[in-house]
């Protein structure tokens, strides 16, 4: 008799546990953007490192290998940065699309739009502000500005996705502030923030969510 009660209790408990698991899953699935793939963050980080290495060895190394003047160098740097940004965003979008497809989820759901909207506000403001800095010739501040605004954008969007993105945002802001203090090493901080951080968080998220 006693054993029977225990057995029934066990079955009841099992159902409740499964209920709670289902509730949790539905809450997350319906309110969070889960399609970020750790692997795409790693690739984006590697692209950023490659861009920085190119910029360092091709343009900024003293003595420089090229005979461009300062304005031309700035334009090439800007083009390089935009190319890195485009490739990184493209990679992350492509991998997200593949992951959403694999999980039979709609990539362009309300949650995605909400996350993207919240990401874009600080990002667009930061981008415009960086262009203004370049316009005024204050190139030294661009690295810290992009890092800080990128961090704020991640924190703003992190409510709609994995918690790791929030921590990544905080890291980017700290590195951005450091880049503002050590003003003449902008490229190093930029490499750490956009390259190394993405690789580290990409590895963490890959093993936590994708394996």
């Amino acid at each position: 008799m006693h054993l029977k009660v225990l057995l029934i209790m066990n079955i009841v408990m099992k159902k409740q546990l499964e209920d709670i698991k289902a509730i949790r899953e539905m809450m997350e699935k319906s309110s969070k953007f889960q399609a970020i793939n750790g692997l795409s963050l790693i690739i984006a980080g590697l692209i950023a490192v490659a861009g920085a290495v190119f910029a360092y060895f091709y343009l900024l190394r003293n003595p420089s290998l090229t005979h461009f003047n300062r304005t031309q160098e700035t334009l090439i740097l800007l083009a390089c940065a935009l190319l890195v940004l485009g490739l990184a965003v493209g990679t992350i979008t492509l991998f997200s699309w593949l992951k959403a497809k694999k999980n039979k989820q709609n990539l362009f759901s309300k949650v995605t739009l909400r996350a993207a909207y919240n990401l874009m506000i600080p990002l667009v403001v930061g981008g415009i502000f960086s262009l203004v800095l370049i316009y005024h010739g204050l190139i030294g501040y661009v690295a810290s500005t992009t890092l800080i605004f990128y961090g704020l954008a991640l924190i703003n969007a992190s409510k709609f996705t994995f918690g790791e993105i929030h921590v990544l945002g905080i890291c980017e802001i700290i590195i951005g502030l450091l880049a503002a203090i050590y003003l003449y090493h902008g490229l190093y901080w930029w490499t750490v923030g956009f390259g190394v951080c993405h690789i580290i968080f990409g590895v963490i998220m890959y093993f936590k969510y994708d394996v």
Partner: protein
């Protein structure tokens, strides 16, 4: 066992639990999104929604997007309260 009685009979089905979970973390969700999330057929989802609606746990708003009818669902204050009670009861039970 008094804690058992706190478990709401209406939430016995996994599908209804799913609906309430989705609505408790989103302002409003339309029918097709819900269908996609829960991986259900129209009829199955509709009957569970109707049951929850007649218990006044959810509210519906019907509107037209172009010519297509679009139904949005929201959780009611009563639904929120009773769902929370159900969750608390579940929590107590497994502790």
């Amino acid at each position: 066992m008094s804690i058992i009685t706190n478990l709401n009979k209406l939430f016995d089905s996994r599908i209804r639990l799913g609906i309430m979970s989705i609505l408790s973390v989103n302002d409003s969700v339309d029918f097709s999104t819900m269908k996609e999330l829960l991986e259900l057929t129209d009829g199955n989802l509709a009957s569970h929604l109707k049951a929850l609606e007649s218990a006044n746990y959810i509210q519906t708003t019907k509107q037209f997007i172009g010519r297509k009818p679009n139904t949005k669902y929201q959780i009611s204050a009563l639904g929120k309260r009773d769902f929370k009670e159900h969750l608390d009861a579940l929590e107590k039970l497994i502790r």
